[in-house]
């Protein structure tokens, strides 16, 4: 950062001390800060962005980031940190923006979060750090956008002038990490920093987990994702793709091979279907299949990439989580699509997706049909979907989750004409890895049971975290689990060492 940004700042510190007002590195007082308004995110216009798969948000400029950073009060007891599952030292990284030291700011971010560019872009900040920020009511500091800015600024810089990353020479035991999603990546990064010899075994041909196969490039540009993921290999983590744990390689074999601890970060990648008639019609996909085809296999660029995806004119997505928003928004961008609907049995208030994704979807012309439940898929004689029979719902009493339960309104059935249906009503953990470890305790929801403190499963030396443990959740929660598990693995192996 250059001197000019410190322009309106360096006043005399003596006068401010007299007033007992805290002055930041930029010389502003609290009162000055409160006057600055939260900076909007520059974005591609909706009509433009639905024609491409480029990033929707442009990201803050250096000036915007600096001014947004000036809004942070550098609270003595920063509440924002409590809202972040990875406990990122938020004021510290923001203060470095003001000091002009983005390298240090990035270092602070990376110390707590292996994936700051990703999290800055995809965390549901409004329910996390920005919810607990002291300024939440007035308009919280745009913590996510600042995090994204710093990380992407540095990744760009490092692309031009690669830093000298010291490969860490392992001095400790071999640890196997299963799954290269956010949970596994984080655990691996932390463990390699502690001196362990870490190998990640990933089933797909690319690392990233949902970040790569689920989240579309217009939300998470692949250049940035690859750079962020690549950094763990530079640190010395051995990432081995095309390795299905439980099939290609087993727990037993890895034990024989000298691995002393395991972390299962296998996610929740098993699609759920609705169980209504006609669901195996042609043109009905799980959101996972659709998104995998488009994002991981790059079907958006067919025939330059080999994998095709069929999308018709009228595409319906059922569900209202992030997966549903991504499916509907991808559809909006596919050539030939005229209408992209979201059908959800509750209302906007209950929709689990990030606010920003719902807003973006609305701007892009996604048609929302709330309080609507699909009951049957209509097909022609060639098994192609032609439409969907639905029933109207109303909200009744709250259910176990505390949300009001949708109940069908009698005689309210109607049809929606469509030729593509994307089922995005939730995911469960994939059992391949967990079933291959004898004695591993699994809950009735199919998730791996762990000790909340240590993240250790019922099998000694086997730890787990992320979606595999909690069911479909968030990136940063997976990051938090990865961190927690890395510490627990370290403690466990230290104890083993002491004991032997």
């Amino acid at each position: 950062m250059t001197e000019e940004h410190k322009g309106k700042t360096a006043e005399n510190t003596e006068t401010s001390e007299k007033k007992k007002e805290k002055v930041g590195p930029d010389g502003l007082t609290k009162r000055d800060r409160l006057k600055i308004k939260r900076h909007a995110m520059p974005e591609q216009a909706p009509e433009e962005r639905i024609t491409n798969f480029l990033s929707v948000v442009h990201g803050y400029t250096l000036e915007m980031a600096y001014e947004e950073a000036q809004r942070c009060l550098d609270c003595p007891r920063p509440k924002c940190i409590d809202g972040c599952p990875a406990e990122v030292d938020i004021p510290a990284f923001i203060m470095e923006i003001l000091k002009g030291d983005l390298e240090e700011s990035y270092r602070i971010l990376k110390a707590d979060n292996a994936l700051p560019a990703v999290c800055g872009r995809v965390c549901p900040q409004e329910e996390q750090c920005e919810l607990t920020c002291l300024l939440a009511k007035k308009g919280p500091v745009a913590i996510g956008r600042l995090e994204q800015f710093v990380a992407e600024y540095m990744l760009d810089k490092y692309e031009k002038e690669p830093p000298k990353v010291e490969k860490i020479i392992p001095t400790k035991e071999k640890v196997a990490v299963i799954g290269a999603g956010p949970a596994g990546i984080t655990a691996a990064a932390d463990l390699v920093k502690m001196g362990y010899e870490v190998t990640i075994f990933e089933a797909l041909h690319k690392p990233g987990g949902v970040l790569n196969y689920g989240i579309p490039p217009f939300r998470m540009p692949r250049r940035i994702l690859d750079a962020e993921l690549g950094s763990i290999e530079q640190m010395g983590v051995d990432v081995r793709c095309n390795m299905v744990f439980g099939k290609t390689i087993t727990h037993e074999e890895l034990l024989e091979d000298g691995y002393k601890a395991f972390f299962l970060g296998t996610g929740a990648g098993l699609p759920t279907f609705m169980g209504i008639p006609g669901e195996n019609a042609n043109g009905v996909y799980s959101a996972n299949e659709y998104l995998t085809r488009v994002n991981l296999m790059e079907a958006w660029d067919f025939p330059n990439a080999d994998t095709p995806v069929f999308v018709g004119k009228n595409v319906v997505t059922t569900g209202a989580g992030n997966t549903a928003m991504d499916s509907a928004r991808v559809s909006r961008r596919m050539p030939g699509v005229e209408k992209s609907y979201i059908v959800y049995r509750r209302t906007r208030n209950e929709a689990p997706a990030r606010n920003e994704e719902i807003e973006h979807a609305e701007q892009e012309g996604i048609i929302f049909k709330y309080l609507t439940q699909p009951i049957e898929i209509l097909r022609d004689d060639k098994n192609w979907i032609t439409g969907m029979r639905c029933i109207k719902m109303e909200l009744g009493e709250p259910d176990d989750s505390g949300r009001r339960r949708p109940v069908p309104i009698p005689d309210s059935e109607f049809e929606i004409e469509c030729d593509t249906l994307l089922v995005a009503i939730g995911q469960r953990p994939n059992p391949i890895a967990m079933r291959s470890i004898p004695g591993l305790e699994i809950s009735k929801w199919g998730t791996i049971v762990v000790d909340d403190e240590t993240m250790m499963t019922s099998v000694p030396g086997v730890f787990a975290g992320g979606d595999a443990v909690v069911g479909a959740s968030t990136v940063i929660l997976a990051v938090g689990h990865g961190k927690q598990a890395a510490r627990a693995v370290d403690a466990y192996l230290a104890e083993q060492r002491g004991g032997s």
Binding site: C241, K247, P271, N280, F310, N383
Partner: protein
């Protein structure tokens, strides 16, 4: 001589105009592969993930054998790779192994490329003490593959061609029905075109002969993540990549499977046409 590396093609042979046999270095897969399991491969960095059965595995040499037919862009592109070149990705072994038990008279009904998929199964069934009778069918003589190999692992072999250019004239279900009627069928397993498997299921249904069909729906990940491979078995949806690929043939909804297999027809045609435009030498030879 340098050590062969993972994914390297160490052997390649054209068995017929559009059928090839390759051996690929994949030590971890070779060590574990069991009859009935498959791999998913990608030919290049923007390639499709395509499933191919592990036709044979040599744990000692760390190689697996794949036998495949050139039917579309990915398999044509695979056919272009020479010995010493590499597949971009190979993952497996996927799916369940075929249940190998002592059934008595075990009948294998293979059509077209299903023959390659049945080879390791025939061998295993025989090793388990079954009397293996193999029925191989093809449209014409030149489309028959691996007959000699099948012969070497079967107690009896019956070959049929639609046009009578080799073996018995007609379809595989004729000799199958005879065996069923003679009471010489204790167990049947079939692999080949979906329509053929459907008729095999019909041929054994009445007599109640346990019959397995090795299904080949469209797949993407092969690990249960996408649901592309879903099939209806006894009215329930199952994922062929993790629950199969073998299922009780009498419960399979073959009609649905056949229709689902056509989902990407237009795209596949376009892909292949573009590929053949870029490879005119192959366009002449068929395709």
């Amino acid at each position: 001589m340098t050590e062969p590396k993972p994914n390297e093609i160490v052997f390649k042979k054209r068995l017929s105009e559009n059928t090839l046999r390759i051996e690929v270095v994949a030590p971890l897969i070779a060590k574990k592969a069991q009859p009935g399991q498959f791999v998913i491969i990608r030919v290049h960095s923007r390639g499709e993930r395509i499933p191919l059965t592990i036709a044979d595995a040599d744990a000692e040499r760390g190689v697996i054998t794949l036998i495949y037919q050139e039917v579309g862009k990915s398999t044509y592109a695979l056919g272009e790779l020479e010995k010493g070149e590499f597949l971009h990705d190979v993952v497996g072994p996927l799916g369940h192994a075929t249940p190998i038990e002592k059934y008595g008279n075990a009948i294998i009904v293979a059509g077209g490329l299903g023959t390659a998929e049945m080879y390791p199964i025939a061998r295993a069934l025989r090793a388990a003490g079954n009397h293996v009778i193999t029925i191989v069918g093809a449209r014409r003589k030149d489309l028959l593959v691996m007959v000699e190999e099948m012969e070497s692992v079967s107690d009896e072999i019956i070959v049929t061609t639609d046009d009578g250019s080799f073996g018995r004239k007609g379809v595989v279900t004729v000799p199958l029905k005879e065996l069923v009627e003679e009471g010489r069928a204790d167990f049947v397993i079939t692999c080949g075109p979906t329509i053929m498997m459907k008729f095999v299921a019909e041929a054994t249904r009445e007599a109640g002969v346990p019959t397995l069909a090795s299904l080949n729906p469209i797949m993407v990940d092969g690990t249960g993540m996408c649901g592309a491979c879903r099939v209806s078995i006894g009215g329930k949806t199952r994922f062929a990549c993790v629950d199969g690929p073998d299922f009780n043939a009498h419960e399979v909804d073959f009609e649905e499977l056949m229709m689902r297999q056509k989902t990407f027809c237009d795209f596949e045609r376009k892909s292949l046409d573009l590929w053949l435009e870029e490879h005119p030498e192959r366009a002449q030879s068929g395709g």
